[in-house]
Symmetry: C2
Subunit: 230 residues, 2 copies
């Protein structure tokens, strides 16, 4: 049995939820608020970040990219020609580059800003940095999201899926980032038709359903968030 | 033939140089100054970061963790029982966690500060942010390096190598970070005997020789930098 320590609005956690759903893996979900620095959680991951996954009595598998490799190594074969990891080392390298791009660059330049300012600050106590959003930060995020959407559109317009011919972990990583931003209505979909059409395809997958049901108390999702025909 | 776009004082680049040397791979080295945003380099990696590796006419392999997986997938078998990637998925996960810890957390909290303030600002033109070091940043780095050294010491004191019984990519990743800080004489070695003894073992490996010959014009290495018996 798998156990996932996650936060519903952590894009890295969402990436893992998507990959587990694609593999139809059963998983027990535990919501973790990393800012609480719960001692039992720090013992699993001294970096105090989500996601962390544990299989049975095994050691903690920490972080989205590490979990991705573990899930592929232990379950990828079962997907056979729908495996989310490409077959060739060069194609894998391109996929891993994109997973890193979305999980670090896009996360740092866009998602993290929106998530912290508009979502997490509602939940984090004022003594730990919660409170009103910083509009200056949001302005930067709104500028940066356009560049990232354009890059996704460029990839989607020149390839069948973001990393090549078939759906890979890279699509799930990108969609996880966008899904958090989309909850807030902050994705300028009209600016890139390729990106929008690609996201509609990913969002329609059964693996996406769990994400579309997430709710932040006090902040309902953007009108089109759960709409497959947005 | 492999070609590596790197910077001598980028710890991520050093990590890749170490792994290539461990595999005795022949590689053509190209020094890249990412802040110049050379168009040909941006075409290889739109994130404009080093390291980037190219094999023959293949596509760019971007970033240290992606290069690590590629090197293991294409050359790891040749090392047989000295392979730098553990055999079991759980052990691989622990190793990847540590590579991520050193390459992101330690990099962001320590190495990046020292490298930027004391080394790169000598080379970066003033118009792009070069100039005198910011002492406030250095104070933070000097505080943080102690925590990271202690964590390395804890790992080295409870295991044979950082990720377990044998030398893995995790040791090279950690040593790459420390090597940049050590060039500047900023590692408080006396504070952790386990960490020091472990680093002495890694530093004595033939794969380390190239790093110990690096020189920054105008800023000689710390006295003990190339000393194997420091």
């Amino acid at each position: 049995m798998l156990k996932l320590f996650h936060h519903p609005f952590s894009s890295a956690s969402r990436f893992v939820r998507l990959m587990l759903a694609e593999h139809e893996a059963k998983v027990e979900m535990v919501v973790e608020r990393p800012w609480e620095r719960r001692p039992d959680f720090l013992a699993l991951n001294p970096a105090a970040t989500v996601p962390v996954m544990v299989e049975n009595d095994g050691p903690p598998i920490v972080g989205p990219a590490t979990i991705m490799e573990y899930v592929d190594e232990t379950r990828g074969y079962a997907l056979s020609d729908r495996r989310l990891m490409p077959n060739h080392p060069e194609a894998r390298a391109e996929m891993r580059r994109l997973v890193d791009w979305f999980g670090h660059k896009m996360q740092d330049e866009v998602t993290q800003y929106f998530a912290m300012e508009k979502l997490l600050k509602l939940e984090i106590p004022a003594s730990l940095g919660g409170g009103a959003p910083d509009n200056q930060v949001l302005r930067v995020a709104r500028l940066n999201v356009k560049h990232h959407l354009r890059y996704i559109g460029w990839l989607a317009g020149t390839r069948n899926w973001l990393a090549g011919d078939r759906l890979t972990f890279a699509d799930l990583a990108a969609a996880a980032e966008l899904s958090v931003i989309d909850y807030l209505g902050e994705v300028p979909w009209d600016e890139d038709a390729h990106a929008k059409a690609w996201y509609a395809r990913v969002k329609s997958r059964p693996s996406f359903r769990g994400l579309l049901q997430d709710k932040m108390p006090g902040l309902p999702a953007n009108r089109i968030y759960a709409d497959l025909d947005f």
